[in-house]
């Protein structure tokens, strides 16, 4: 059966992509941010995952408000970079793990999660940036991807508990998939930021650092917090952090935090990562 290799939580801020595209990786402003990912990148490269399940939200690029899927699942064999207003970025297309995606579709619906099934889907920075932060800028991505998209834009957004439960189901789906592939689960978004309203520019590094410190060792509070509490503590767009709970819910109760990193602000966002492994 397939194996859960590790869980990665990471920001997916679009300015990270812009910094890479402008050649600012090693600038004074950005180098400390990118360098903080190097140990986790090395660990992932050494452990060679076959599939990356990427939980993210579309940012009004592949879905408009005419149809808002609370949950969507890609089942394509290829995903192209979306045009977010500046033309599609020149990153390689993403090869889809379509067979695993369909297996997951079966397990989700049987488990009473009912996603929109997407056969054609362009993927925006929500998927691109975590892949670049994990795998750099290769000519071809070293893993196949499974996009899971969560509506975090139009209310009602799903509850933190629902995200956790989806993670539990994802774990069972991985471990009932009849290959010997290794799966990396990536929960993305956040950390604190707010783009809308007079509180725009709100960030909360104290809460962010606590999240980074506790999401592995003591996630209970975050599972039971309300959506409003997320918005208050992490900002209106910081509520994206609920998607990390899919990753955390996928893992054992006891995990080891292999690496973590925090940097604020990346553009207008508290940014960072954790790499978690089930305790041996």
């Amino acid at each position: 059966m397939a194996k859960l290799l590790a869980g990665l939580g990471t920001s997916h801020v679009p300015s990270i992509a812009a910094a890479l595209d402008k050649g600012l990786r090693d600038s004074d402003e950005w180098k400390p941010f990118f360098d903080g990912y190097i140990p986790a990148q090395k660990w992932v490269a050494d452990h060679k995952p076959d599939i990356a399940v990427v939980i993210y939200n579309d940012h009004g690029n592949s879905f408009f408000l005419d149809r808002v899927p609370t949950l969507a699942l890609g089942v394509a064999d290829t995903y192209r970079p979306a045009d977010e207003g500046w033309g599609p970025r020149s990153v390689p297309d993403f090869q889809g793990a379509d067979d695993f995606s369909w297996h997951l579709a079966d397990r989700m619906v049987e488990g009473h999660f009912d996603p929109l099934i997407c056969r054609e889907l362009d993927v925006d920075h929500g998927l691109q940036v975590p892949m670049e932060l994990t795998f750099g800028r290769p000519d071809a991505w070293p893993v196949k991807v499974v996009p899971i998209l969560v509506n975090t834009i139009q209310y009602p957004i799903p509850t933190p508990q629902r995200m956790w439960d989806l993670g539990r189901l994802l774990r069972r789906a991985i471990e009932s998939y009849p290959t010997d592939e290794k799966v990396l689960v990536m929960g993305t978004g956040g950390l604190s930021h707010q783009l809308q309203g007079a509180r725009a520019g709100f960030i909360n590094p104290t809460a962010d650092r606590e999240w980074i410190a506790r999401i592995g060792s003591d996630p209970e509070r975050y599972r039971t917090m309300s959506r409003e509490d997320y918005v208050e503590e992490f900002g209106s767009e910081g509520a994206e952090l609920i998607m990390w709970l899919v990753m955390r819910g996928c893992m054992d109760e006891t995990v080891t935090t292999l690496y973590d990193h925090y940097f604020a602000p990346a553009s207008m966002t508290g940014a960072g990562m954790v790499l978690l492994e089930n305790a041996r």
Binding site: S15, A18, A19, L24, E29, W30, F33, H59, G60, N61, F64, L65, A82, D83, E84, G85, W86, G87, I153, Q154, Y155, P156, Q194, L195, Q196, G197, A198, R199, A200, G201, F202, I203, R227, E228, V231, E232, G235, S236, A264, P265, A266, S267, M268
Partner: protein, 116 residues
């Protein structure tokens, strides 16, 4: 969400705002294609005529009044596409909504930083 406006100065994108801003956001979504962007740049009024904007929304777009666009139901993820055809840094859009000059916004909200 039963208490969507509990958090000050934080307009959650709920049913009233999504309804109010639908045409505005749809106009902005049209800029996610090269054809839409070319049409906007060539003749902004003619492009805006394609959408059922209210006079207030139209004026807010024309004057690039970001706070007003959000007040009228615009959601940043859509209206940000206007900044792709009329370049405006995201932090200037943030400062405008906060009602601050850019440097004051960077100092007080983001802790005096320069990361773009």
């Amino acid at each position: 969400m039963t208490d969507a406006d509990r958090i000050p100065d934080t307009p959650l994108f709920d049913r009233p705002r999504s309804n109010a801003g639908y045409a505005l956001n749809k106009m902005a979504m049209g800029l996610s294609t090269a054809d839409g962007r070319a049409a906007f740049i060539a003749d902004e009024d003619a492009y805006l005529d394609r959408f059922a904007l209210t006079p207030e929304q139209r004026a807010a777009v024309k004057s690039r009044d970001w706070a007003e666009m959000v007040r009228l139901g615009g959601n940043l993820f859509y209206i940000l596409k206007i900044s792709a055809v009329d370049p405006t840094p995201i932090r200037e859009i943030g400062a405008a909504q906060a009602g601050m000059e850019l440097q004051e916004f960077l100092d007080t909200r983001l802790g005096k930083v320069t990361n773009g």
